[in-house]
Assembly symmetry: C2
Homo-oligomer: 218 residues x 2
Amino acid sequence: MKKRVVPGHVLATEIPDVVIQRLPLYQRTLSLMSKEGVEVVSSFRLGELLGSTPAQIRKDLSYFGRFGKQGTGYDVSYLADRVKQILGLEKEWPMALVGVGRLGQAIARYPGFAAAGFRIVALFDTDPEKVGKRVEGIAIQSVEEMPQALKAEDIQIAILAVPADRAQPVTDLLLEGGVKAILNYAPISLLRVPPDIVVRSIDPVLVLQSMTFYLNSY
Amino acid sequence: MKKRVVPGHVLATEIPDVVIQRLPLYQRTLSLMSKEGVEVVSSFRLGELLGSTPAQIRKDLSYFGRFGKQGTGYDVSYLADRVKQILGLEKEWPMALVGVGRLGQAIARYPGFAAAGFRIVALFDTDPEKVGKRVEGIAIQSVEEMPQALKAEDIQIAILAVPADRAQPVTDLLLEGGVKAILNYAPISLLRVPPDIVVRSIDPVLVLQSMTFYLNSY
């Protein structure tokens, strides 16, 4: 469980990682409401929209200060901005993508990242055949060049889309290059990283396999 | 929180969904060990491999019966088979994919699903231009045909890869067709479904946004 103290908060509290993982959804929902002109929202309504309880909403948000107004609700645009700021989403984040195979190419072409301020600015692959080729206008570099290239562009976030057996050595090179956060698409259960590095995995097969448990009873 | 009683278990217990979500990783790790010839594993070693504590491992597995042997550890191949059976992974699951845009096509071509026994057997799209075209040998059908087609092939799992504003109406058609589990790639926070339907969302942008919280402090 990763925790970080929110700077500038009067009552500095340690925030559980599960709360942090829910915040982006709060932010997305609140921004949408703000765009639609909604000014105030209750914890009850937020709970409905997010599939949570009003108590959970109030508890989650209480970690970050006193947002709610007794009896009226939350100021939507203020809360949206504050959560955005807490999450560090006010700036654009450059990212590296390692592994430009079938999956990597789909990731490189996915428009959702840039739309949310996450821009893939560097591509790497272990295959010498691929080095020098371009995807979405970006030239693929060799993984040997990676630590140097990452440092030169001050890239702190990397997407890992390599086969399972390449995941750990590539991760070691990412860390050498100063990467602090890894979005892992490689089907590997555990990457060895120091405690100050954030790794989150995306594995649709694992997700499907946890759903069939419920189907099994039909 | 979805719960289901494991059939045939002496002490039928309600199993928290968080435990169910961890089981596929147990199964993958144990199957790999079994293939490598490992016969017995301790909760300590499993904890190391899965990034969990020995106590957590023992608690998770205790929901499904008495697997461990005091002082020796778990029988790897027996436990791997048992977890596979509990999750319903002994058979092949046919799936429908709705939305054959850029993301949908990448999903249709992803080899990991079929390798794990999840086979995409039907494709649907709302765009009349796309209907009749083939991806990976499968003809795209219109979403209007969906309820009928899903029932005809007894498809219980669907992957949703449509834009956010199409997600709910398409979900309603999936349910009409008898779908019980939805893997949602649409960037929508909450799909309205009855309580016996399982929905899990994959949204890499939300994952990235929860990681920048930690980077923000560097």
